[in-house]
Symmetry: C2
Subunit: 449 residues, 2 copies
């Protein structure tokens, strides 16, 4: 009996090894979503009836750390339901493999080449960063930040809520913020706290650290431990890019968004908060995006499209990809043969990944928008905003999420899933087979473009 | 006196040789636009007052063969004004350099390497096609098609118009169609002729031949002259791509566009005509695009975005670029290292041009749309449609062109100019300097993307 169980286990392990790293990630996330979905369907976790589709939507939104919701989390799920959602956010945020690989590391003290390969798919990293160090920092850093966040949130919430509620809200929002999930127990996100300085600071701190990500943190951690450590080029690009884009978004909203320019107080804070929310992809809001005008929605869509750092919890094409795209445009316009950025040649492999990501991401946004305009009837800018928000795993909305029809909700579910997995990983998981026979007769001929 | 004039001419020639080919094209087109603008401003060419901005708009629209108008051509300009517009369309359509180089060829019987270089910028061609043959075919082909078109249009128009009007309309629309300019002397384009089979056929024939372009024609011409001639890979891609995309657009409009599904007759013809109009970028219409729903506008935007062939008069990123983008997506998803299309490896240089074109084109569409949403107040899909139409030099509109404010009109003028010149050529003309000193200290370091 035991031997046959072992046999099955062995066969399963062999079966798993047949998967590409991308397929492993794909099925890993899918397992989380489905497990969460099944759990959330159990009526004992509900305050009110929740449809099967809405439970699937919530589970996908939690695992993908998006935060779009078709039902109110607070009104629909009881404490245990909310707890499940928090766990799904945490699992999704730290990531299927970071977590499982750490479990493996802490028990066996060694990591197989196989797992290293999967990890480097999940976080496309330069080889100079050691994966073991990287993982330890991730876990420790997450714990520290979430405990710190819980304390700060608790100080805010204990003024308005009874002790237990304040404590639970603090923990839930801390996890939700650090994983840039943007799930809230308040039905209007943080609009009631728009001018609370501590809340704004806490959200910004957790979301920025979470989204800037583990590369940047590992880099700084090493710098602190060893003063001679040189901060990597990647970290510098991410930091500069983040500051530039965040300032750009804040200025635009501050000067040109009517619903913000009319504010009598907290105008700069509101501009900063919504820009930060879009860029870190945390997705909380302190003003109503439904009131934004077209051009400012486009600014936010651009920020969501970019996202933040490749090793963080944020979605989007990432600042590093944007900088490579910028480098291509600049070098091309100058007629340079080599693509340079900040006086450095970008290797061909990186350019290939960047252009692929740009092409894939743009194609999926266009396709998603088309499908929703085809099946639903909303203002075009609201649909584009919703799609960018879902694919970027941001979770802000102009308010159409709850009004989407069944097909619309299913499209958003798929977009959130693709967004969390990454467009390239998602594509490779579905179409790349291991050791495919390439029987193509390859010819070389020129095409005019 | 004669000597000093010769001296000035010599200096001018030297000055011109300092320009890059792209700058030469840029200033060439700019000269046409400005000359046309100045001529159109002269009151003797007007039926009614036309503002300076509207004259600039008309001149740019004509030279760029776009066909967007802020004033009615028939109501605002008299016969001589219309004649100037036709000449501008013809110059823009055949192209600044094709024309001037032919003039040079027919007088000197030889072409300088310099001119060959400029020509290969205007039409990015595989080296296997001879430029001299190419040019001859262009001119002869244009004449034959426009005379044929004039006769066919005349047969249609003589039923409704007096002799001279019918003749002039026939010639004007023939030039306008073959150059895919879409300028019309009728204020509602060809809506009154929606069910006239000969008119539909004439427009389709001229526009498809004009937009498929001179590569395809030269290739077929050589095939007819010499049966053993092998039709090039490029021509095949263009033909297949054109047929696939045109069928795709026609089917979508036929089945899903309410203003077409409600038609009692000519439903298939109307679907075909609007798709053909968007893809060839001729820009005539037999139904009102203002009535189209969001998703069908997106289908048309996609067709305009692509356009047709690299050697034709159409705008857009071209079918060849689209096929390279498709090849990148497909090869990437399969995990192939080499980018292949139809079992052929696409050379790196071509991929570089294709991805640059995709990035540039997409960036400019997004930027143009943002600027118009920022300064004007229309439905988002109408603005996106207008921008794609201007940049693709298509000229269809949902009806907002005349309602744009001054800044809006200026943005569309710039977009039409960029569209005609090509996004890469435009960029290179502005920023690429000959023999720039590259003092960059080039380092090589990896970035994570
Ligand atoms: K989020
Ligand atoms: K046109």
């Amino acid at each position: 009996m035991g031997a046959s169980l072992k046999n099955i286990q062995k066969k399963y392990t062999l079966f798993k090894k047949k998967w590409t790293p991308q397929q492993n990630l794909f099925y890993g996330f899918l397992t989380y979503v489905l497990a969460g979905f099944v759990l959330l369907c159990i009526p004992i976790f509900h305050k009110t009836d929740v449809s099967i589709l809405d439970n699937l939507f919530t589970a996908t939104s939690a695992v993908s750390t998006t935060g779009l919701v078709t039902v109110s989390v607070f009104d629909s799920y009881n404490f245990f339901g909310q707890f499940i959602i928090m766990i799904l956010i945490q699992l999704g945020g730290i990531g299927y493999l970071t977590f499982t690989t750490y479990m493996l590391l802490s028990t066996t003290k060694k990591m197989t080449l196989w797992h290293k390969k999967i990890l480097s798919t999940e976080f496309i990293l330069p080889e100079s960063i050691q994966i073991k160090d990287f993982l330890k920092s991730v876990i420790i850093f997450t714990l520290i930040m979430e405990i710190l966040g819980s304390i700060m949130f608790f100080i805010v919430f204990k003024q308005d809520l009874p002790f237990f509620n304040a404590l639970w809200s603090a923990i839930f929002h801390s996890v939700s913020t650090f994983c840039t999930a943007g799930f809230s127990l308040f039905n209007n996100s943080f609009i009631d706290y728009a001018n609370n300085p501590l809340l704004n600071f806490t959200v910004a701190l957790l979301a920025i650290f979470g989204s800037l990500g583990f590369i940047v943190v590992t880099d700084f951690y090493l710098k602190v431990k060893n003063f001679t450590h040189k901060i990597s080029f990647t970290t510098k690009i991410i930091l500069y890019g983040f500051i530039i884009l965040l300032s750009f978004g804040t200025c635009f909203l501050y000067w040109f968004e009517p619903s913000i320019t009319q504010l009598t107080q907290g105008r700069l804070l509101a501009s900063f908060f919504q820009s930060m929310s879009a860029m870190t992809t945390v997705g909380f809001n302190t003003v109503d995006f439904g009131l934004f005008n077209q051009s400012m929605l486009l600014v936010c869509i651009f920020l969501m499209y970019v996202g933040a750092s490749p090793s963080g919890t944020a979605g989007g094409i990432k600042i590093t990809t944007l900088s490579a795209i910028y480098a291509i445009i600049k070098s091309r316009l100058r007629g340079q043969k080599k693509i340079t950025f900040m006086h450095r040649v970008i290797p061909f492999e990186r350019l290939y990944i960047a252009t692929s990501a740009f092409i894939f991401y743009t194609t999926i946004i266009v396709l998603g928008t088309f499908l929703i305009t085809f099946t639903n009837d909303f203002k075009f800018e609201d649909i584009l905003f919703e799609v960018a928000s879902a694919l970027g795993t941001v979770g802000v909305s102009t308010g159409i999420t709850t009004k989407l029809n069944t097909i619309g909700k299913l499209i958003i579910i798929v977009l959130m899933f693709i967004g969390r997995l990454g467009v390239l990983t998602f594509g490779l998981a579905l179409w790349h087979r291991k050791k495919e026979n390439q029987k193509h007769k390859i010819l070389k001929e020129d095409i005019a473009i």
